[in-house]
Symmetry: C2
Subunit: 175 residues, 2 copies
DNA sequence: CTTAAATTTCAGTTCTGACTGAAAAAAGTG
DNA sequence: CACTTTTTTCAGTCAGAACTGAAATTTAAG
């Protein structure tokens, strides 16, 4: 049970990128492995392929499940757990974005709201600073609202939007 | 030289978020401080406010400068360096996105390209896996191209786009 | 040119959190 | 219900990154 050179390269890179995003290396590597795998994998197979401790795989998969990035399946007459990841890149993208909103945008939003409220009463704080907090709040709020709306848009439309690129500017300004 | 409670809360939260993104706590805290400050700050002032070592401020500012998030200014008759951050949230946003593209998207793109090329020759690799690599490559390529185009769009247009939200779907599909 | 102020470098320390491995728990099996 | 297999928990280890503080360097003033 071993990875081909290209798959190994992919998995290692993905692990590296994972550390830049919220998660750790192993979690990202497992996700990559499951994304590429033509069939669901067992924990012990993942242990072999990645050369990490069984327990590490266990906790990593739990984390991925909590993100909605991995689901468990079973094979008839086999009591071991099998795991798989969504195979559609757009679905993966949506799930990841959603998670990041939950973990980063939302907490930041509530922090900014309470800061904006509190700072009003602070006579010692410069007006410019107050303004800056408000501006950041308005920005994050608008990103958040935009996301809430865009979430519902179907993949095909998003693909068209991507293709359009800067062309979107004309549409928006002209209408 | 100390921060008001609201400002302190802001700075601490920003530092925390910084660790989720690429950087470390101090770097993000300094950026937050400079964003909020009504005037450029000196390194020693930052040391006081954040209670970190002078050398830490020095290296953190260097990092911020390399990102284009901090620039140095001077006061007549004072040889100490003063630092400030862009105050426009959209500009900040652009700079940060640009950095992330450089550091994450571009390397991933070249990894995927070489993987997609290599994997073709691997007879042992399942066709499904080859397909998945291609799909991911196509996706990341399209995000990258989209970004290159959108980069030029002026802030005002982006703001309109945000306001539009899901309404954009109609525009795109109708035209 | 000497001295003082400001900044940077860097070796060493500290801290964080990822990872391991053994033990416990859970989930089937006969 | 005793036994086996599989999974999870958790205390301890380890590695890497962040941070400190002292020494070196740079910069400019007298």
């Amino acid at each position: 049970m071993e990875m081909s050179p290209a798959v190994e390269k992919y998995v290692l890179h993905w692990g590296e990128m994972g550390t830049r995003w919220g998660t750790n290396r192993t979690v990202a590597q497992i996700q990559a492995l499951l994304y590429l795998s033509p069939r669901p994998l067992r924990a012990d197979e993942i242990v072999d392929m990645l050369s990490v401790a069984r327990s590490n795989v266990s906790t990593s998969i739990r984390e991925l499940q909590s993100y909605g990035l991995v689901k468990m399946t079973h094979v008839l007459g086999d009591r071991r757990d099998y795991f798989e990841s969504p195979h559609d890149v757009w679905e993966l993208f949506r799930i990841i974005i959603e998670q990041r909103k939950q973990r980063e945008l939302n907490p930041t939003l509530s922090m900014l709201r309470s800061c904006a409220a509190e700072v009003e009463a602070e006579t010692s704080t410069d007006d410019i600073t107050k303004e800056r907090i408000k501006n950041m709040l308005a920005f994050v709020e608008s990103v958040s609202e935009w996301y809430d709306k865009i979430r519902e848009v179907p993949t095909t439309t998003l693909q068209k939007l991507m293709k359009l690129g800067a062309g979107i500017a004309k549409l928006v300004n002209k209408r």
